[in-house]
Symmetry: C2
Subunit: 223 residues, 2 copies
Amino acid sequence: MLDAADPAPMNTPSRRRFRREGEERRRQDLIEATLDSVAEHGLQGATLRTIALRAGVTAGLIRHYFPGKEELLQEAYAALMGRMTEQAKAALAIEDASPRQRLAAFVTANLNVPIIDARVFSLWTTFIGRAGADASLARAHREGYLGFRNEVEAVVAEVLAAERREPDASQLRHHAIAINAIIDGLWIEGCLAGDMFAPGELAAIGIKTVEAELGLAPEREDN
Amino acid sequence: MLDAADPAPMNTPSRRRFRREGEERRRQDLIEATLDSVAEHGLQGATLRTIALRAGVTAGLIRHYFPGKEELLQEAYAALMGRMTEQAKAALAIEDASPRQRLAAFVTANLNVPIIDARVFSLWTTFIGRAGADASLARAHREGYLGFRNEVEAVVAEVLAAERREPDASQLRHHAIAINAIIDGLWIEGCLAGDMFAPGELAAIGIKTVEAELGLAPEREDN
DNA sequence: GAGCTTGTTGTGCAAGTGTATAAATAGCCC
DNA sequence: GGGCTATTTATACACTTGCACAACAAGCTC
């Protein structure tokens, strides 16, 4: 049971067998393994050896694709951010829908899987927590946030225009900030304690709250 | 200028001088040093030596007050949570005010310093990020969150009662979840990019959004 | 298939980690 | 002031970490 590392019975010094993967494939695998490691045990658990093990290679290989651990983490964070904003924006791109429907679809998309996901949340917190200290991280976040908020602001403008309302720039900005906050806040609640909410409940609350913020007449119901 | 660590000119093997502080004081200092270290460099940077240096003692002393690093971190987290919920609830305790005023004061308090603070946010993210993996952390958070939400729900009930409204339990719950999300979301935006908002702007948006969610008539203004 | 390139492994190392423990001294009690 | 005790320092140790580098073999080219 002990020392089961040697398949050959004799003193074969045989190395581990391996395959040469394409460069892009390896980088992708390493980045994914990095995200997995960070999500599971935080930055602490993301050691080169852990990452390599998860990617099915040995630690030394990482240095062949990345100058150092720091760069690997940065690329992993960039990949994460890219995926998140891409998914969020995709929800806005539905065709043949009224502005109000598109806004509702946007809220719904952001308050269900796969956006509501404990793994993504864990990654977000570990990286974003360092934004206060790391300037490049802070800038990356700010750009992503502003991009997101501008998307929201654009839809809000369409929704209000369809309602014959004419908000000025300041009001639009306030609406966008508020709606962004509603989505973020509900997203956190869902990620941290998804089992406390019925399926679709967060999305329903989100839509109702957003429409109240914009002063849209509710479909029906009182109080 | 270099090697100024030895006050005695000769080969004195003199140990570092020290003072015996009270037990409670030392524990408090160590916990504070821990929070500072975590806030500044994350869990990675919070080594026993770093913490001890910040607390003005040597690393070995920590083991005299805490069984191990794990326990020190747990106590530090508990202290942080306690302080946060205490501050938040204190804002609700103002006397001689209408329910609506108390709610507004609550929102305002949570969207200004010292609640909006990059250091606290950094601490929150580093600890909460591990809630997905660490069960005790998750439970601690859930209790704090539910306590907070129940406070909100109680004020909401008072506000609506003062308006002669009679929401049922489900509606109350939805309002509390939504308001909680609004505060959390705006809190994050303020912590991450406080300089993007004018002083008091977040609080103003928060109050407006919360009152819209509850269907309270705005003081004045349109659109 | 021989040979070459380079992706990949394995080992080594210095720095740093948490923990254990012995030595020293600060400050109280008499 | 002398002696005791527990706080505090200092050192040691086993272990992990990121990184450097030499050896190796996978798979292409001819």
